[in-house]
Symmetry: C2
Subunit: 262 residues, 2 copies
């Protein structure tokens, strides 16, 4: 109440800007969130206040927020407010973790129980980006990177070997101790420690024969067919922030994908 009118950091929309008003409003909201003025978990000003600050009606502002909610940038809670999206275990599970035990008959409710994997770190090393890593992360070959190998288990069985690669320059101060002691998911750590929010990802899957490292980590026979998923995780502006290769033992688990309710 007593805060000065400008404290929210929102600018009135330029009168000459292009496109529909609600999209301009969306861009302004995105700008203020990316600027860090509101960090993950923070409450935004109420819709009425934002609308007035931007010089648009509440209905128009709501359309802008609608889109940012769909894109996982914001979260709305009735009666409480609008918040900058936070990475928690549930979100990781639903948006980014797609390995499930095989069902004998694919009846499959939407309501089946999902299990959060148990993660063990088997390697944490610094190195220099090779060509593929550099291309994926849009850095230069030879730039410093951190590579992390994890073993993921479901119901006590090792199912996935994850190799994560991030640019050291983007994740300054990234170290093994913080990584091992993280209270939640890796994406939550990116967010709390480095201010990087993973919004979405591109994945490409292929079948390969298990190599020596994977065979050892997952306990499968050398040369057995395994599923290899290459993921590039993206933040604002589709900037790549993590390159991850997940090698999955699909002997009794599947990689699940839902083709678009919406």
């Amino acid at each position: 109440m007593a805060t000065p009118a400008s404290s929210h950091g929102l600018q009135p929309l330029a009168p000459s800007a292009a496109g529909p008003l609600f999209r301009q409003a969306k861009r302004e909201l995105q700008r203020v969130v990316e600027s860090g003025r509101y960090g993950p978990g923070d409450t935004l000003p109420s819709e009425g206040v934002i609308a007035q600050a931007l010089g648009v009606s509440v209905g128009t502002l709501r359309k802008a927020v609608d889109e940012l909610v769909h894109e996982h940038v914001l979260v709305r809670r009735q009666g409480k407010g609008t918040f900058v999206a936070l990475h928690n275990d549930d979100r990781f599970l639903f948006q980014f973790f797609h390995v499930e035990p095989r069902e004998e008959f694919p009846v499959a409710d939407e309501l089946r129980e999902r299990e959060y994997p148990h993660v063990e770190c088997v390697a944490f090393v610094r190195g220099r980006a090779d060509e593929a890593e550099a291309a994926a992360l849009r850095i230069k070959p030879g730039d410093p990177v951190v590579r992390i190998d994890n073993r993921l288990s479901l119901s006590g069985r090792a199912v996935v070997h994850d190799r994560l690669v991030v640019a050291a320059q983007v994740f300054k101060g990234f170290n093994e101790k913080r990584f091992l002691e993280r209270p939640s998911t890796v994406y939550n750590l990116y967010q709390t420690d480095h201010g990087i929010t993973v919004l979405r990802a591109r994945e490409r899957a292929r079948a390969t024969a298990a190599g020596r490292e994977t065979a050892r980590i997952l306990g499968v026979a050398l040369g057995r067919p395994v599923l290899e998923v290459h993921r590039v995780a993206l933040t604002f502006g589709d900037k790549p922030v993590e390159y991850r290769i997940s090698t999955i033992n699909t002997a009794s688990h599947d990689y699940v994908s839902l083709l678009s309710k919406r």
Copy 2:
């Protein structure tokens, strides 16, 4: 203009119904589309007319249509009208076909060219559902089914072996001639010949060793790792209408999935 007021088949919303108005309106629209009163490609009455028929404001009606557009049930075209969604090649390509040539470095614009696969039918047989097929299609084991095997090629190279299974009782009069002479995609045929619109699908992927049939059809060595995708295609009310196993030679192609812009 001269048509009687009731010709659109829309009922005013019951005054006692549950949930928000726009969702009731959505259900009524869905009901009238599922009833066949408006078939694929048909133009719906204008938003003003529908709104009046249902007894809601245009804004509310638009919210209902918004959701049905997101779910691929309806399509809007400014200045022309609102239409019942049609299955064309483009939609198939973007919503259901996820195999792409491997890129050496995963830079990957959203704007890359996509190629429609060349399809050859290698088998069309009638049979009886096994347990897995019956569970997937929610029919009884032993019920009559049609099984179709196709070879899909990209740039002249055989990449995918598709095995489609559909319930014969649902696809009455489904025959090889119509199938082979279809002008567009299989899902388009389902729609035009059998009034079945595929809205979405569930997929589960795993790596396996190429079996004899796949090895022959795709021209890969027996036992080579291949990607097997099990798809259940769903229509209104999440009713399963097709069970499909795609076996993909991922030697130089990937199975691509985008994790949720929205």
